[in-house]
């Protein structure tokens, strides 16, 4: 099967789904499950031997390992999230449109990954933006969608400008050729790189463009937030990898001054990644809405990915790729568990929940595994990528960047633990006494995703080998090395199965001690130490509100980037008013004067 066939099939099926959903919305929702799963199976069966041969006019595709890797991530996330769609059909205003746009955005992402030239990539990029823009207001807020679209449009314009700039200079739209040609002229190459990177930055949610993530993720329908965080944000990472490695930017900027072994431009860009990590972490810590918290964590993780890509060595890129994979899966899983809780209780605000573990134990375990991966703790995929990134950083000796990365890494313990403690553990609220475990259709994808996270945390080598393949396809001289079980770093080896084995060994020992000791008596949750007081209200006996209050107090007076954007919006509005005052006043003579002036200028023509 060729890429073109798959994409056309997806687009046709997406429109078909609209009409199917009109007839019966459950059948329509299950169509999305079947279609996404079928696409995943085709991609897995054919591997990266898929053919990109067939084409219509400019619609040409080429199959690269990088594109295949990203499509697999995307298809896993889409197909698993699709299982949740049937349950949301009643809650979403336009189920038909939702299902159609769901599949259309998938077609768009695959088109972006396999596009051979920039124009095709741009078209599909816009399909993704438009499809997701219409889905977001199906949730809670319209403003979120406006902010998302405004940001994305800015990125799209810079992207398009860069494409035409390259075309004007080198006369080709083909990605490889135009970037190859741009190598010769450092100024054009750097300008095109930065303009395209802006589009990537916005998608990835890098500071100062991160504000759309919490708004869009937090307000999108619960089933679409995992797609946004696990899938669409990673488009930015794809674009960044593509232009960084194909150019490659380190060769273009090699005449610049070097800081810590990298050109100054790269270091400055890395600082944006570092700021994203710090801002994302600090903001995530203070969120009360679980979805906003996870959205800010995506900002922080976007920072890791950016730094990993820009470090541009085989360990760092491999770390970034595995981080993209690990974070996409883990973040989607975490969003899905929150969606499951929201499905049963109708809220995602943590302070309104508590003790859900007693009603939804499997959801709890899934969330636990997801956050272990997000916090980078073994034996999950997140640990492998963090290890690789830290190795690369230590190798370069970039201790300022590393400081922020360590801060983000330890800070992630704080924010991922907040939902665990406040939402899942603690006292169960009386109004949630009748809540049941999530339905089986939701549990299946969540458990599968957790299984993937665990599997590649214990046996990461096949994943690492594939990243090595991607690296050699991208033209790296040296690729990351792995033997059967060990990943070889620049300054140390990682034996992931051994770590898991040792943990399992420790677990058995601890379990034996636990089982030998006398059995405990089970008591209720309210039967706790209360310093002699009598308490009867579980909801008042739960540390849930402003969980990290002492820590939040330390930075509560932080400057807000939103204020800056608001000021910018005000300036644009003022400018608009000025234009209206000058050109469109009630005094017709002024308008006529300007029309005549413009006509004179036009007639004057090029001589001016």
């Amino acid at each position: 099967m060729t890429i073109l066939t798959i994409i056309i099939a997806l687009i046709v099926l997406s429109f078909a789904t609209y009409y199917i959903t009109k007839i019966n919305n459950q059948v329509g929702a299950y169509t999305t499950v079947v279609v996404t799963l079928a696409a995943l199976v085709i991609f897995l069966l054919e591997g990266d031997k898929l053919s990109g041969a067939s084409s219509i006019g400019i619609l040409r595709f080429s199959v690269t390992p990088l594109a295949w890797f990203f499509s697999i991530i995307m298809l896993i996330v889409y197909s698993m999230v699709a299982f949740f769609n049937p349950y949301w059909m009643k809650k979403i205003l336009h189920p038909g449109a939702y299902n159609m746009l769901f599949l259309l955005s998938l077609a768009g992402t695959i088109g972006v990954f396999f596009a051979e030239n920039f124009i095709v990539m741009f078209i599909f990029w816009e399909i993704v933006v438009w499809a997701s823009m219409f889905i977001i207001p199906f949730g809670k807020s319209r403003t979120a969608s406006v902010v998302y679209y405004a940001m994305s449009t800015f990125g799209s314009f810079t992207f398009l400008y860069a494409i035409f700039m390259l075309y004007a200079n080198y006369g080709t739209f083909v990605i490889k050729d135009s970037l190859e040609a741009a190598k010769g002229d450092a100024n054009i190459a750097i300008a095109a790189f930065i303009l395209m990177l802006l589009a990537g930055f916005i998608k990835l949610g890098i500071f100062p463009f991160h504000i759309w993530l919490p708004m869009a993720h937090g307000n999108a329908p619960d089933t679409f937030s995992p797609i946004l965080s696990g899938g669409l944000v990673k488009l930015g990472a794809f674009l960044t990898i593509l232009i960084t490695t194909l150019l490659p930017i380190h060769e273009v900027t090699k005449d610049q001054a070097y800081i810590f072994g990298v050109p100054i431009l790269i270091y400055v860009l890395m600082i944006f990644g570092a700021i994203s990590i710090v801002v994302g972490t600090l903001m995530a810590i203070k969120q009360d809405d679980a979805k906003k918290l996870l959205a800010y964590s995506s900002v922080a993780n976007g920072g890791y990915i950016l730094i990993g890509i820009l470090l541009y060595d085989e360990m760092a890129l491999s770390g970034a790729l595995i981080h993209i994979f690990g974070h996409a899966i883990a973040s989607a899983t975490a969003f899905l568990t929150i969606a499951a809780v929201s499905y049963r209780t109708g809220t995602t605000k943590m302070s309104e929940l508590g003790g859900m573990i007693h009603k939804m134990p499997i959801t709890y375990v899934v969330y636990l595994m997801a956050i272990i991966s997000m916090a980078g703790i073994p034996p999950m995929t997140g640990f492998i990528s963090k290890w690789l990134l830290f190795q690369a950083l230590a190798d370069q000796g970039m201790f300022f960047i590393a400081t922020t990365m360590f801060f983000g890494s330890i800070g992630s313990f704080l924010y991922v633990f907040r939902p665990l403690s406040v939402l899942f553990l603690g006292q169960l609220k009386p109004e949630h006494k009748t809540v049941k475990e999530a339905p089986i259709g939701m549990l299946i994808p969540m458990v599968i995703l957790s299984g993937i996270t665990l599997f590649y945390g214990v046996l990461p080598n096949s994943l690492v080998e594939y990243t090595a393949k991607i690296e050699s396809a991208l033209g790296f001289d040296k690729v990351i090395e792995t033997s059967a079980l060990v990943i070889q770093g620049n300054n140390g080896d990682l034996h992931a199965p051994l770590i898991t084995g040792i943990f399992a060994f420790g677990f058995i020992i601890a379990l034996i001690i636990f089982l030998i000791a006398p059995k405990s008596r089970k008591v209720g949750l309210m039967d706790t130490y209360t310093a002699g007081e009598f308490l009867y209200t579980p909801s008042l006996y739960h540390a849930g509100y402003a969980y990290y209050a002492p820590f939040e107090r330390l930075y509560q007076k932080h400057p807000n980037i939103v204020a800056l954007f608001a000021a910018l919006v005000q300036k644009v509005k003022d400018f608009g008013k000025f234009i209206r005052f000058v050109f469109f006043s009630r005094w017709p003579g002024r308008g006529v004067m300007f029309i005549i002036l413009t006509m004179i200028l036009l007639m004057w023509g090029e001589k001016l």
Binding site: G355, I357, P361, Y364, I372, A375, G376, I377, P378, F383, W387, F390, L393, A394, G397, F399, F400, A402, T403, F406, F407, I410, G411, F413, L414, F417, L420, V422, L425, G426, G492, D493, L494, L498, I499, G501, I502, F503, F505, G506, F507, A510, L511, I513, F514, A517, P518, S520, R521, K522, V523, L525, M526, Y529, A531, H542, Y547, Y548, P550, F551
Partner: protein, 301 residues
Amino acid sequence: MTITITDFLVAFGVAFCGWALQTSVSGITRKTVARMQKRYGPKWYQNFRDIFKLLNKRAITHGWVYDFGVIMALAGIIGTAMFTPVANIVVFKGYDNFFVFVYLFAVGMLGMAMSASGSGNPLASIGVMRALTQMVGYEVPFMVIVLALIHVRDTSSISALVDIQQASGWNLVVMPIGTIVGFICLMGMLGKKPFDTYIAPAELASGPMVEYGGKQLGMLMIMHEIATFVEISLFVNLFLGGGSNILEFLVKYFIVYTLASYVSNVLGRFKIDQVVTFYYKIPILLALIQAGMLVIFGWGV
């Protein structure tokens, strides 16, 4: 290198001996501190007595996560201790990576935090919140120092770092500022005053530990002793040159732990926001200066 079941057993032996060692050392310290305060003090093996007594008592449980968290906590810490190189006993040579220590240790901490929050007592949740906040304080300067060390030594394996120190002098000499930062961070890791905010018995009724009794408390005490063993050993291995033989290691170990305990006994307690502000003022600054000295100027290498 192939890994056999014998390796696992030897490594477990290290963890077990580490537990026995730390439990005795902390008993001795309790005694000497008591004498300094003009008390008689408990017998040096009082901690062993406490643990065995607790393991034999019938206790309460607040649900499966309360129990599971305790098991996970002990498992994570035993696992970390099994990686710990002690003098010339290095079981998993080359795989005792620094970052593995940091994050495998976190498994244990996560288990304990989970179990404590699962008890449903808000005091425990507040304690956990404080412990995590404190972690943000001490881990970052510590990791920056070690990152600089890894950069100049080209290895992140603890045993390899020890070997380099045996050959060319302790890191105490190479990076004196870093060692001071390391010690301040070690105090935070151990939860010794002034950084015992998260247990703070008089404010929080022992924080995370408030609900525990019986075997769960016993297991957490074992975990605490092994965790202390791992932390002190890490400090000795990273900054004081480990040990060429067991005796040398033990002497260093004893000195570091006793020093930390004595310092702790003459200090008051920080509030939790003071802990974070403290770590982000002095230690992180010193850590960055030391990292700059090592990485940029190569002083002392």
